[in-house]
């Protein structure tokens, strides 16, 4: 049994409930045990680090310390949470003064040795694409998928280690293993506007619009993501963006665990595909996947 500390993050209990549900479902099936960090607090998201360096270090440190104590790799399905956990780890290592203050506030010591990985790396690298492949029930034949990684999962370069920061291949390899086709495109890591979802929507519309256009142009029928922020910008904002661009984009955006779920034989409601703004049902039916 493969065991990791799981930090779902705030979005996964609300706006991205379907990501949480699909992830837990798929992981159970694959026998990956997700041990939720008890009484976790928010990672500070995109706000803490622009307000106070210390807050940005202290909030994640609580979860990091817990995982370290229990000798587990800590993972998050949300790129923003992952980034905050990882950056906190890096900063606490890089800046000893910060570490001292954080430890004082928390009243605990932190060694910094524990591993922090994004869920994609836990599932696709540690558990392994090949192991997933061995358990598939279905091939997602004929489906053209654009893998969108976004900023926070791969940048800065120190966080993605084995993969290429400018042209990551982790999810693309998964797509091929599932029998689908990963399209070649160059906007994999462009920014979607992330945290400006509420405050600067016009920026989100432009950036996410560029990504959606590029995905469409590359022939993708579906976008696969691994972050609730990316998802809400590409999916929930898609109708507005379509209107703005005066083009019907209509390109479903699925979480990578939902895509794995499809290949494991789960259905529309199991994976909560009904929660998406752009309904993937017509596409998936046309391809004979649903």
């Amino acid at each position: 049994m493969f065991k990791v500390a799981y930090f779902p993050g705030c979005s996964l209990s609300s706006t991205a409930k379907e990501y949480d549900v699909a992830t837990r479902l798929v992981c159970e099936d694959l026998e990956i045990e997700l041990v939720e960090v008890p009484e976790w607090v928010c990672c500070g998201a995109t706000t803490a680090h622009i307000t106070s360096e210390l807050t940005a270090a202290v909030l994640p440190a609580r979860s990091l310390i817990w995982a370290e104590k229990h000798n587990m790799t800590i993972t998050s399905p949300c790129s923003a949470c992952f980034s905050r956990l990882k950056m906190a780890q890096l900063n606490l290592e890089k800046y000893p003064g910060l570490k001292k203050e954080a430890e004082e506030i928390l009243g605990e010591t932190y060694s910094g040795k524990g591993e922090v990985l994004h869920l994609t790396r836990v599932m696709l690298e540690r558990y392994g694409v090949d192991n997933i492949k061995a358990k598939l029930k279905k091939q997602l034949k004929g489906l053209k998928i654009a893998c969108y990684y976004g900023c926070l999962m791969t940048r800065p370069a120190e966080v993605c280690e084995n993969d290429r920061v400018e042209d990551p291949m982790l999810m693309d390899n998964l797509v091929s293993a599932l029998g689908a086709q990963a399209v070649k495109w160059s906007y994999k890591t462009e920014c979607c506007g992330a945290a400006f979802s509420l405050t600067k929507t016009e920026i989100v519309r432009k950036l996410s619009g560029d990504i959606l256009k590029e995905a469409k142009a590359s022939g993708a029928e579906l976008i696969m993501v691994a972050c609730p922020l990316c998802h809400s910008n590409l999916d929930a904002r898609q109708p507005e963006i379509s209107k703005l661009l005066k083009a019907e984009l209509n390109i479903p955006v699925l979480y990578f665990t939902q895509v794995i779920g499809l290949a494991l034989g789960y259905g529309y409601l199991d994976l909560m595909l009904n929660k998406h703004f752009i309904d993937p049902a017509p596409l998936l039916k046309a391809k004979g996947i649903l």
Binding site: R164, E166, K184, Y187, E214
Partner: protein, 662 residues
């Protein structure tokens, strides 16, 4: 009793700005044996040296201490000064109070002054124990080895041969010519590279004083200036000396698997090949990793078609060992491999090419016969983006230095493009334009003003592939604008790197290299073509990135140095060598075993009347004075002149004693 003079130098303000030189001189005057101690502005200047000579005469001095710069800088100067005044030149010691004090302890003048006093005192302690040594001479093998047949090596060989000395020119590729042979036209005059290089290549081949050895590499070196012994591997060409260079074999060879190194992998080449048509010598070689016969045992077509029976599949690598008096290293450079630039596509985008590939594309002898088309789909190009400083001036890529040539070659390439295709547009992204050279700035101006090349000041952030185009996203920091260009072709100005294997090569000669692998010159200003190994000189891009004019100037300079060396009857060598006290030698052979130069002989000798013993003896002409034997001898029977045990121990004792200045 020794009569010592101490001379303390100001070096302008270099030393005097930090060290209280008068206090140093005053302290010197108080030391036993010191008859005179003075300070002076510039000790190495003529009046400075005359001060010393006058003092020697006036005070009857027999040994000197010069407290100034590093002995590596001026020890030879002051030895000559002593000699002129009639003192044995080995009765001179220097205290290094510039490099080892003033320049490194400028943050505390008091401590610096105290240290300067101490170092001077240590030198006085050492010189007290100095002995007069007599000059030694060694023979010179008047034959030069030039390694690397690029323009640097060719020029050096021609100049040395021109002075009447024999030269062996060793090149590891099948032909000489180096990078310059790959270039189309050359800045700043835009004359054709082949037109000016080919005559030189031919001249080198025909010069009776030059022996060409291509497809060969140096594998071992021992010896020293005047007497280098070098082992060279002649790689099996599989073609013997009967070849007349008709080229039939190459035409008929069916194997096209290998990619042409000369054409920067833009075109295939045959298994039996010369790198390019004007190759010198014009003898093909078989690349055994690509030849069907060597891979499968079948084919032998070349053997069948060869009119002279020159093909020899059984040829073996051959080793030769020869002696040389001097060596010129001219092994050139490689260009930076941009597969480290993820933002420019990890080297995987076919239409993002290197500057060197562009030279091949636009050259009429190149794979496209001079048509600039896209490697991916062979379409003609309209918009071409040039990006400068790729793999240069980039700390994140571990290449912080400027490659010095790429600004110029980019301007050249943009102009050549416009010349060939007036309807194209060239864009150049740059950070700074570095065009210091005769007519260089004017050249770049011409690219901008007459050719309409658009220069944009900023680094490119990313290249996107979109449909059939490359979307180049850069900035123009002068206008504060983000810039997006849809390009057909992107040409990178890849920086210069040391040749692959440069570090291992350096070890053959014990040359030192900088942190990147470029070979170090002895002094950046005053000895730019010498290395720390006497008799070994460097020319061209193996020392640092440079263009052809600088390369040629440097090559001729090495030739002048080699000729100056060969013009001497014999070589004066420092007599700082080991000597055995055979009375105490126990004959254990330890020294015999450690000496790296086999300079120790064991002999049965009558050391005292009637007592014949097995003892060590130093071969004076062979010993290099490394001192390994001295460190190893258990009986303290060997000592090293100039660095005797007594001298070093006195220095140690002085170093640890307090300063008694008041």
């Amino acid at each position: 009793m020794a009569r010592i003079g101490v001379f303390v130098c100001h070096c302008g303000t270099n030393i005097a700005g930090v060290v209280d030189v008068t206090r140093v001189a005053k302290y010197a005057g108080s030391l036993p044996g010191v008859k005179v101690a003075v300070d002076y502005k510039f000790m190495c200047s003529d009046p400075g040296q005359n001060t010393i000579i006058d003092a020697i005469k006036k005070y009857g001095l027999d040994r000197l201490v010069v407290s100034a710069c590093s002995p590596r800088m001026h020890e030879a100067t002051f030895r000559r000064t002593a000699e002129r005044a009639g003192i044995n030149p080995y009765m001179v010691e220097m205290a290094n109070i510039r490099e080892h004090v003033a320049w490194v302890h400028s943050d505390d003048k008091e401590l610096a002054t105290q240290k300067a006093m101490k170092l001077m005192e240590m030198a006085v302690a050492k010189v007290r124990r100095s002995e007069a040594l007599s000059k030694m001479f060694a023979p010179i093998e008047k034959r030069a080895l030039v390694i690397g047949g690029g323009i640097a090596g060719i020029q050096a060989a021609l100049d040395i041969a021109g002075a009447g000395y024999k030269v062996l020119l060793v090149e590891k590729e099948p032909s000489i010519g180096g990078r310059m042979a790959q270039l189309d036209k050359t800045f700043p005059t835009l004359d054709c590279s082949a037109c000016i290089l080919t005559p030189k290549m031919v001249a080198a081949a025909q010069d009776p004083n030059i022996t060409l050895l291509t497809y060969a590499e140096v594998t071992e070196v021992c010896g020293f200036v005047g007497q280098f012994e070098v082992k060279i591997k002649k790689k099996a060409k599989s073609v013997n000396s009967k070849c007349i260079g008709c080229g039939v074999c190459t035409t008929k060879c069916p194997s096209k698997k290998a990619l042409s190194e000369f054409d920067e992998k833009l075109a295939p080449r045959k298994a039996i090949y010369t790198p390019f048509p004007q190759a010198v010598p014009n003898v093909p070689v078989i690349d055994r990793t690509a030849c069907t016969f060597f891979l499968t045992g079948k084919c032998k077509i070349c053997e069948k078609v060869c009119p002279t029976g020159a093909i020899d599949y059984t040829q073996q690598d051959e080793f030769i060992k020869e002696k040389f008096g001097a060596v010129v290293v001219a092994t050139g450079f490689d260009i930076y491999d941009h597969s480290n630039y993820g933002e420019y596509g990890y080297g995987e985008i076919k239409d993002v090419i290197t500057g060197l590939q562009f030279e091949r594309l636009i050259s009429s002898t190149g794979p496209t016969a001079g048509h600039v088309t896209r490697p991916s789909d062979h379409r003609e190009v309209k918009n071409v983006v040039f990006i400068q400083c790729v793999g240069s001036r980039d700390e994140a890529k571990k290449r912080p230095y400027c490659s010095r040539v790429c600004c110029m070659y980019t301007a050249k390439q943009a102009m050549l493009l416009k010349d060939h295709y007036p309807e194209t547009q060239a864009y150049v992204f740059y950070i700074d334009i570095r065009s210091a050279g005769k007519n260089y700035e004017e050249f770049v101006q011409r690219a901008q003003n007459e050719y309409g090349v658009l220069y944009l000041r900023g680094r490119v952030s990313k290249i996107y592939e979109r449909a059939n185009k490359l979307l180049v996203k850069g900035a123009d920091t002068l206008s504060g604008a983000q810039v997006e260009i849809e390009a057909d072709l992107v040409v990178l100005a890849n920086g210069f790197e040391p040749k692959k294997g440069a570090k291992e090569f350096a070890q053959l000669f014990h040359m030192s290299s900088d942190q990147y692998g470029f070979y170090n010159e002895l002094h950046p200003k005053l000895a730019p073509v010498e290395t720390a190994i006497s008799g070994v000189f460097v020319a061209g891009c193996c020392q640092s990135p440079k263009d052809i004019p600088d390369t040629v100037a440097m090559a001729s300079a090495t030739a002048a140095k080699v000729c100056a060396l060969f013009a001497k009857e014999k070589l004066e060598v420092e007599p700082l060598i080991a000597g055995v006290n055979q009375l105490t030698c126990s004959g254990c052979e330890t020294c015999y075993n450690v000496c790296p130069y086999s300079a120790i002989e064991m002999k049965d000798k009558e050391v005292k009347r009637g007592e014949v013993r097995h003892v060590a003896e130093v071969l004076e002409s062979v010993c290099k004075g490394c001192g390994a034997c001295v460190g190893a001898c258990y009986s303290k029977a060997v000592d090293l002149k100039g660095f005797t045990d007594r001298q070093v121990l006195d220095q140690v004792e002085t170093a640890t004693a307090p300063i008694t200045d008041n």
